[in-house]
Symmetry: C2
Subunit: 496 residues, 2 copies
């Protein structure tokens, strides 16, 4: 019986308890056939001695095996591998398919609608560089993961947690909607009630739901160019027709919007009022009022994607369009993905209750409901003021980083690029001078270990010729920025 202890490998540094490691290993050997049915196992005392663990540990392991029917216990005789193993083997299909020989098919034989999805760009982790200027992400090193985990630890209390483990409201946690209504009122002057709010998976799902509800084949939707391709792809997938308008230093061009409205029925307009993606401009207060008037006059819906509102450094943010929307034209979309971390997917849609009701039905069809535990954790973080506190700290730090980064750029590559200091957000929109080409600089930079945009994906037309790129600063500390700008300067020299 010494063989049993020889088969088992115990690692006390593992998170899995030792008794479970023993039980797992024994199950594994039963399955593989090393340990046969009806074979005797050593006594708990003997096994404990040879494994150098406490006897109770082996007793617990044997209890576990017994509970799972892997062993039989005969009083005074000992413990044996079960004569009838509990493994359930699925019945094969009638025609005696030898599944082990089947290769899983590589192709469906029916067509999928790839015409609708041809342009969708998927995540590309890219080549690891020593330094990378990303497109503008928060610094996940600041993410309040500890706070999130503190909330998750509270869920260990079963009484508290039980109701969040079952099916729940498709509209999202009642607690979170209540806290969010207060937060939106305090920060954005949006005097909403929980029934005006739908909790989504990131701003992305809110945009998707709005598009599904309002757009059909051939409907016209207006967006800025350059703009956010992740929204444009959603609109086009519905079969809607995308009309693009220019973006200047005060935001999207409303004369161009009105010209389109005069020619055809417009169903929806998509706007990023703070720190337009990618150009970082803020839609001016005057244009906001005019945009609301145009929406009323021509009867279109506005999707106001204010994902960036909470990150302001130089000047105050401007109140959302939604805060002055008497008429019910605005669907306000926001996110905590930039507040906590992009990987923590919580966003929201704020709209009149009739639209929220329909959006909730659509959400039910898609994935039924959100993560209730995550939503409850988020509600507590808002309630305790943790989010406000984190935002203050992060704003202070990103403000400093923006200033350091702009100074470094001016000092070291100021002759070759131009940019305006953004009011907030996570990135700078810059333009190369002296005939420098984004793709060429990116290639030279990559060879030196610096990741930097080649200028693709900003304009709708991938062949649109321009000299702009986005440089994310928020996720880098001072040392990383120095390294990055140093390499950037060298890459520019080589790109001539």
């Amino acid at each position: 019986m010494q063989i049993v202890s020889a088969l088992l490998r115990i690692d006390k540094t593992q998170p899995t308890p030792v008794y479970q490691q023993i039980a797992n290993d024994i199950i594994c050997h039963i399955r593989q056939g090393t340990l046969k049915p009806s074979m005797a196992l050593p006594s708990s005392r003997a096994l404990a001695a040879s494994l150098k663990v406490h006897r109770n540990t082996v007793v617990a392991a044997y209890d576990e095996l017994y509970a799972q029917s892997w062993v039989d216990v005969y009083p005074k005789k000992g413990i044996f591998i079960a004569a009838n193993l509990p493994e359930v083997t699925p019945r094969a299909l009638v025609s005696d398919v030898n599944v082990k020989k089947l290769a899983y098919p590589e192709e469906t034989h029916f067509n999928v609608c790839d015409k609708k999805l041809g342009h969708v760009r998927l995540f590309n982790p890219g080549v690891a560089r020593s330094v990378t200027f990303n497109e503008g992400f928060p610094d996940t090193r600041l993410a309040p993961v500890e706070l999130m985990l503190r909330e998750y630890r509270r869920f260990a209390n079963y009484q508290f947690t039980q109701k969040y483990l079952l099916y729940g409201p498709e509209q999202g946690s009642e607690n979170l909607r209540t806290e969010l209504a207060i937060f939106l009122s305090e920060t954005r002057g949006l005097h909403v009630q929980p029934e005006h709010i739908l909790i989504t998976k990131g701003a992305q799902m809110a945009i998707y739901l709005a598009a599904q509800l309002l757009l059909g084949k051939g409907d016209v939707v207006i967006a800025g160019d350059p703009g956010y391709c992740g929204a444009n792809e959603v609109f086009e997938q519905t079969g809607a027709k995308l009309e693009l308008v220019p973006v200047d230093e005060h935001g999207i061009d409303l004369d161009a919007v009105e010209a389109i409205c005069k020619k055809q029925k417009v169903t929806m307009l998509y706007v990023i009022p703070h720190h337009h993606q990618p150009t970082t401009v803020t839609l001016s207060s005057e244009r906001r009022m005019r945009l609301l008037e145009l929406a009323m006059k021509y009867g279109f819906a506005i999707i106001e994607d204010d994902y960036d509102y909470d990150f302001h450094y130089s000047s105050s943010p401007i109140l959302p369009l939604a805060s002055a929307d008497y008429y019910g034209s605005v669907i306000y979309v926001g996110s905590f993905c930039k507040t906590i971390a992009p990987g923590i997917r919580i966003g929201f849609m704020v709209a009149p209750p009739n639209l929220i009701r329909e959006a909730t039905k659509m959400r039910r069809l898609i994935d039924r409901q959100g993560e209730q535990l995550l939503e409850e954790a988020m509600a507590n973080l808002l309630k305790n003021g943790d989010i406000t506190r984190h935002l203050k700290k992060a704003n202070k730090l990103y403000h400093e980083r923006r200033d350091i980064f702009c100074k470094l750029l001016r000092e070291q590559v100021g002759d070759h690029i131009s940019f305006k200091i953004p009011d907030g957000g996570f990135a700078i929109w810059m333009k190369y001078k002296n005939g420098l080409q984004p793709a060429v600089v990116a290639e030279k930079a990559a060879a030196m270990g610096l990741g930097i945009s080649a200028g693709k994906d900003y304009y709708y037309d991938p062949d649109h010729s321009h000299q702009n790129i986005r440089l994310g600063f928020a996720s880098m500390n001072a040392k990383e920025m120095e390294q990055g700008v140093d390499l950037f300067a060298k890459a520019i020299k080589k790109a001539f």
Copy 2:
């Protein structure tokens, strides 16, 4: 300065650290105006004494306030509320909107597509009853929440967690797809690779994605009646035409399916092969082979919704259709929502890689990606064997519960109902005898504190006359079942 300590309320039983409670309270009073700019705060020693806390606690609170710019510190003079408070007040829109006076609009002025969503049924928590026979849910008291939390605790290690906080692959965690491929091979004879798998939010999202990819306006989709309304609603929302076929004791009627195929082009068929919702029947092995042949002959796709595969008591499960799908007709859909808990939303789609690629693009549009931390936790639970272990325990228990429940029903209400013992799953499909009406029994039961189905939502036509209901047993222990069946017997007597 005694006023400051009088304003503060400390509760040491709260999860929020005391220093943070002090800081929060002070911020709150600054905001409310109780504490004015430039006002002196008591020394840390004095405040600690009057609050009866350690001096370091007050020092930490003051550090926090300083870090957030709420206080100024003047060496040798003391600590003061900041003269210039850091609060950022948003700029109002130009026309001087008094947002405080605005009521948020109650209605959008544009039409939403309510015709497509009219039938979607939303979550209804219902009236609390002392006992409820639900539609068949797992017992959340068994949910391995502790194990999930153990995995979450590991995320406190930042180095480990960092990459899961950023954007990640839309197809789902690589680790989870790898572990799931092994699990599917061991349990279902599905010899798939990670590239055949897309991780979704529950089986629901997998069904939604398949429908979005394959169905368009007017396309024909076949489903069983009675059937799962949550899938039917998804198909109809695409504009597809739903053709219903009967379900007998061996599953959906394939003669009826072939008759439809002979008359019109069929794009998709939806089937629940194990424990059909709601009738709990298993699609026989013979019908499975014939269904695959029909799919090849008539060129339709099969959505195989095998959400219930892992819960088998009497006989072995039958291998999935997908395991014998040489031709690439089957989209296999499953879920861990019944394994862990319905509120923990992890499901999957298994299909040939070309379909998975398109489904991944569609998923990117909807919500970009899943919860990476949850997916990593799930991957570890699969890897450690925790899921297999939990399934074994749960199956043993649910098997017992099924037997106890059937015995109770036969003994106490056997004269008034008929049912077949289901092979697995969470519920019994029963039929009233002697002219008893489901709605009448439900009404009498409700008056006595027993929640029970009134027989709605099983058939596509809400007015379809029948005497069947579903009785969930898995979530109830023996005592609860006894109580429930006792009340059920009384309700039946009153319903005559």
